[in-house]
Symmetry: C2
Subunit: 314 residues, 2 copies
Amino acid sequence: MRTLDKDEILARLDLERAEALLRQGFIAYSAGRAQLPPVQHFAFAEANGDCCVKSGYVEGESLFAVKVSSGFYDNSKRGLPSNQGLVLCFCARTGAPLALLRDEGWLTAWRTALAGRLAARVLAPRRVAAIGVVGTGLQARLQLRALQAATPCRDVWVWGRSEAQLAAFAAEFEPLGYRLRTTLDAEPLARACQLIVTCTPSTRPILQAGWLKPGTHVTAVGADAVGKQELAVELVAGADRVVVDSVAQCAAYGEVSHALVAGLLERERLTELGRVLAGERPGRQSEDEITLADLTGLAVQDAQIAKCVLEAEA
Amino acid sequence: MRTLDKDEILARLDLERAEALLRQGFIAYSAGRAQLPPVQHFAFAEANGDCCVKSGYVEGESLFAVKVSSGFYDNSKRGLPSNQGLVLCFCARTGAPLALLRDEGWLTAWRTALAGRLAARVLAPRRVAAIGVVGTGLQARLQLRALQAATPCRDVWVWGRSEAQLAAFAAEFEPLGYRLRTTLDAEPLARACQLIVTCTPSTRPILQAGWLKPGTHVTAVGADAVGKQELAVELVAGADRVVVDSVAQCAAYGEVSHALVAGLLERERLTELGRVLAGERPGRQSEDEITLADLTGLAVQDAQIAKCVLEAEA
């Protein structure tokens, strides 16, 4: 059994190969060829923390993965990271433990960003005049990096709650050839951009329905647990095409859950990303459609990105 | 984060301290002061294997545990162990990973055996003329070792399916001062013994109802998954006192599940071990009762025995 630390893991992570494996993972999941037992959740009320255990296996693959990720929101007061995580990989033929990936949450961050890239490949309009990034954290930065391969556009609007974070975001991407506009108001971003990613832990809608122009695609990755929401229910219900990573999971706590509960959206209108990637269902069908990808994160992504890292040994 | 291997773990394992922590764990569980998310199960049909992930946290404790244990039943053909397991421990105040315990399943084996000891302490009759051990595997051997502290009896009947395994069992315990009788027929064992432990992966009843004499206690630990059964339903239903580690889990797949499904037992007759250990419910009340302890294994046991090993550092 090997132990790899964050730096070793990131050095082995080939984003193109990871994207290909994630594509296979989404397809397998939607085809019923993956095992995803129920997510285990812990709550640590006194410590203001939580933890979840996500496990996944794509049938026929050589390994399965068990991921433990925690958020302890008072850790920063102690100089510790709020989010911690690790992934254990086991041989699917013998059960032997293969590797402990001490990725500190980076594999989750990248598999989420690359899912955004996959969604953009099948749903973004052909002409993107500007990319909109809602959020300034690590996931926002990785989403923008992941989109480099999906669109040639380098004009970017960024929304955040703090001028300092917006400035730091711009300082990271301007040297890479991006032209950035920062804003504390999400409306002009929504009106100007055709490819928008929302990447915040918000519990209230940031984007409203009337702001989007025809032909816009929105990928939302923030709503990964009950109570989170980045998009107004009218925006979700009004989209011409609603793609989800998992109907079951998104109906439980994704962006679409709020619209379903409000009675504004029917479950039949949801299409799984794996079916679109498999070519069984259409992606974007016209340049005028408003499309939405609601991504809550699946354990098959963890298993596939772990496989990517472990295979890089050869 | 530390990694301890099997030998280091067993060297740190103080059975008396472990028993005390397990007692606290059962009490906390039955009092609703423990978090046990649903067990995750994988099935690997082609490899003839399975895996489960059990996670547990006793509220107020310093750590929580995630255990991954697998059984791959063709491994012996490759010279590999069939059962493999490890336990991850995390700090309940910061989420930080504390330790990886590569116990190869030994912590599960011991926490199961010590649960048998706890059950015997509150349910075994005062006078035990003979102990009956049903099974000859590792768990059968550990149960007998664990019972050393619960009874002075050293007269033992052992049932097994193979003469060779019975001889090996006897060869292990005779030098320790035990007087052994081995048998391929379970009936004389059941008729002669007052403290019986059943520790097999059987899927058909081994012990029948009419064989037990008044005053006998039976602890059954084999039925830890759907489809397993060591005791006839009439034996279970006919016991004067039925104690379970978890009402919910035993009703799902313990020995009592079969009697519940058959309509021979009412759920109201089940008492949790934690309530008996807490003194809220009686243990054995007379020397004539037939008592039963149905133990399916709880993740609080994993968390508590892991704590025992980690605390031994000090």
